[in-house]
């Protein structure tokens, strides 16, 4: 009988379960992984170096392209760091809009994660369900910024513009006679403003989460694939630099929204779910509960935003462009507009680190400014980078099929890991 010897196996970068461009070099002993060596960087675009060559505001769009499934959360980290250095505080309405869109982003991210994680370990239906709801939230992005994904909506000092009064519809003439019932259903909830649509969504969404849970939570196959897989103890999780749901899944109650509140999170009422065992299943439960909590937060923001109109941008032409009308009539406004969009603004010398509770963990931006109109150094602390670094430790001793479950549970997106 021939004896099995350990051998090396290549996984990815063009594997559907590699979530983009992960290349794993696995040392196998039979079907058991003895060492995993992730090769990353296939999507490296030198975002940080590009940001150093441009005025501050022109790099906001790059932030969307980091973690391209939670766009506005990335922007939030970046603008927060700039605001910290400038010493400015956006008006309260802008803060609530940011919280609302951060949570919409969290739902967007977790839905994509849930769908793909399910698909990776063999559940097809959940993927279709998740993408159905993502479509609605993408429409919210589009309504507010004009694009479905790369919004560039947050700006230092506030947000680009106020929420629209009219939610765009699919049908140009909703009252026309030849409109089918199916087309009409697509415009459900779109009669009023964006806030009406979001409220309509928050009423529907808890039912959808119940549907996802019906598919997975007590599903025998799902549990066989996730319970007891890639267990991380709380001590190891801290030492490995875990943040976000990966840390909470291990039972550590740590959430920047509660512990170091930014924007308007101090006024929000929500709970932090934590896991017990630190395995893939617990991290699944944590993220699903986060969907429900995000829904709660969005609801609170909608109520507040309805009752409190006001400015959404600081009143400072050094940072925010003047109104188009004024720009046509006033010389000073014209100069402000021109200088802002060519040279930008100078940020005082110093350094700042701002972190937000990104859907994947702690997303931080460390800015070093030497007083110029461009950052001297931007460092993006991507949560996925630290999680990916723990790949070897998490899969060692597991079967090959569990590697896929582990990649899924990490919620990796290579836009942010490779930057």
């Amino acid at each position: 009988m021939a004896e099995f010897q350990s051998y090396t196996m290549n996984f990815g970068p063009q594997h559907p379960a590699a979530h983009g461009v992960l290349r794993l070099v696995l040392e196998m002993d039979g079907e058991v992984v003895t060492r995993a060596d992730p090769h990353i960087g296939l999507l490296h675009r030198a975002t940080e170096k590009l940001a150093e060559s441009k005025p501050y505001n022109q790099s906001i769009g790059y932030m969307d392209r980091l973690d391209y499934v939670s766009m506005m959360a990335n922007e939030h980290g970046y603008v927060l760091a700039i605001e910290k250095l400038l010493g400015i505080e956006p008006p309260p309405r802008a803060l609530y809009i940011r919280v609302m869109f951060d949570e919409i982003t969290r739902i967007l991210n977790h839905l994509l994660w849930l769908g793909c994680h399910g698909l990776d370990v063999g559940a097809m239906t959940i993927f279709l369900y998740c993408f159905r709801e993502r479509e609605n939230l993408m429409d919210c992005y589009e309504a507010v910024s004009g694009t479905r994904m790369h919004a560039t909506y947050y700006r230092p000092g506030g947000v680009y513009r106020d929420l629209p009064e009219q939610m765009p519809r699919h049908l140009a003439q909703p009252d026309a006679k030849r409109v089918s019932a199916r087309d009409k259903a697509m415009d459900e909830g779109r009669d009023g403003s964006l806030l009406d649509f979001i409220e309509h969504f928050t009423r529907r969404f808890p039912g959808y989460v119940d549907e996802y849970e019906t598919l997975l939570t007590e599903n025998r196959i799902w549990k066989q694939r996730t319970v007891g897989i890639s267990v991380v103890s709380p001590e190891r999780a801290l030492n490995l630099g875990f943040t976000g749901p990966m840390l909470r899944g291990s039972g550590v109650e740590w959430d920047l929204r509660k512990k170091q509140p930014y924007a308007a999170y101090a006024d929000m009422d929500f709970d932090i779910p934590v896991g017990v065992n630190g395995d893939c299943y617990d991290r699944y439960l944590v993220r699903v509960e986060e969907l429900r909590q995000s829904n709660r937060i969005i609801r609170q923001c909608v109520d507040w935003l309805r009752a409190n109109p006001g400015p959404v941008m600081v009143d400072d032409f050094k940072l925010a462009p003047p109104k188009r009308e004024e720009m046509k009539e006033k010389m000073e406004s014209l100069i402000h507009h021109f200088k802002l969009f060519t040279e930008g603004y100078c940020v005082p010398e110093g350094e700042a680190y701002a972190a937000v509770e990104h859907p994947k963990g702690e997303f931080g931006v460390y800015l070093v400014s030497d007083g110029a109109n461009k950052p001297f150094r931007v460092k993006i602390r991507a949560p996925g980078f630290a999680h990916m670094a723990a790949m070897d430790e998490m899969v060692r001793g597991h079967m090959l099929a569990d590697v896929v479950a582990t990649i899924g549970t990490m919620d990796v997106v290579f836009g942010e890991i490779d930057r």
């Binding site: 441009k54 630099g241 100078c346 109109n373 723990a390």
Partner: protein
């Protein structure tokens, strides 16, 4: 928040007097300089001692201070000679002697690594900056033995800046391509890179060639002496700074 911050600052001062040198921060952060030689011992103490318990290393960031504080466009002497129009490659304004002296004191070396620590117990962050010893290559001790998270962060700083972390067991490139030459985030590495690739019909393979794009500056780097950011004119740091918003 700031009371806890200050009590932590006092505790750090009492424990690491002469090792950690506090740096001023305009936004209420704890920021320290330390010597490369003290890094490992300090890291262990910061992680293990009850008063600090910085159990998590959030980030390690390489910084190249070449050209810090230099602008490409003179702004203060506009009335004498007029503004310059375009940016000459490599041109930058010269600093005053006192300014250069201050910088030299603040930045004794070209490369540094900045460590961001987080203590869950105290809910506080601390930033440490250590300047690398030497320039070819710049060397720092590794903290992978203290925080496992440092593994990839140090590999990244090595890859992008060429900082060698002594004691790191697996210091390979991480983000750049297989076979890449140079350290792309150094300030003297061109933004457009040094090589470009294309498919060669005759050789029937992908070939590397020197880059054909000329580097150019779209927006010149400008440093303006803005009175609004003078510390005396700014309100309490962290509470929103009243002066800026008045525009």
């Amino acid at each position: 928040m700031s009371a806890r911050l200050e009590s932590m600052a006092e505790a750090l001062l009492a424990r690491f007097d002469g090792v950690l040198h506090r740096r001023e921060s305009s936004c209420g952060e704890l920021s320290y300089d330390l010597d490369a030689a003290d890094l490992q011992a300090t890291a262990v103490a910061l992680r293990d001692e009850e008063d600090f318990s910085f159990a998590t290393l959030i980030d390690v960031c390489g910084v190249d201070y070449l050209g810090y504080g230099q602008a490409q466009w003179r702004t203060e002497a506009a009335t004498e000679s007029g503004f310059s129009r375009a940016v000459e490659p490599g041109a930058s304004t010269t600093r005053s002697a006192s300014e250069s002296e201050r910088r030299a004191q603040e930045q004794p070396a070209r490369f540094a690594a900045v460590y961001h620590l987080l203590s869950l117990r105290h809910n506080l962050r601390v930033r440490l900056r250590a300047f690398a010893v030497g320039e070819n290559p710049p060397v720092l001790p590794s903290v992978t033995g203290v925080w496992q998270a440092a593994d990839w962060f140090e590999r990244e700083a090595f890859d992008l800046f060429g900082i060698v972390f002594e004691g790191h067991g697996d210091l390979r490139r991480i983000l750049t391509d297989y076979g890449f030459i140079g350290h792309p985030f150094r300030k003297d590495f061109p933004l457009s890179g040094k090589v470009e690739v294309r498919y060669d019909e005759d050789k029937r393979r992908v070939v590397y060639e020197p880059v054909s794009i000329e580097p150019r500056t779209l927006v010149p780097r400008v440093i303006r002496d803005d009175n609004r950011y003078r510390p005396a004119l700014r309100a309490e740091p962290g509470d929103g700074g009243g002066q800026v918003g008045d525009g």
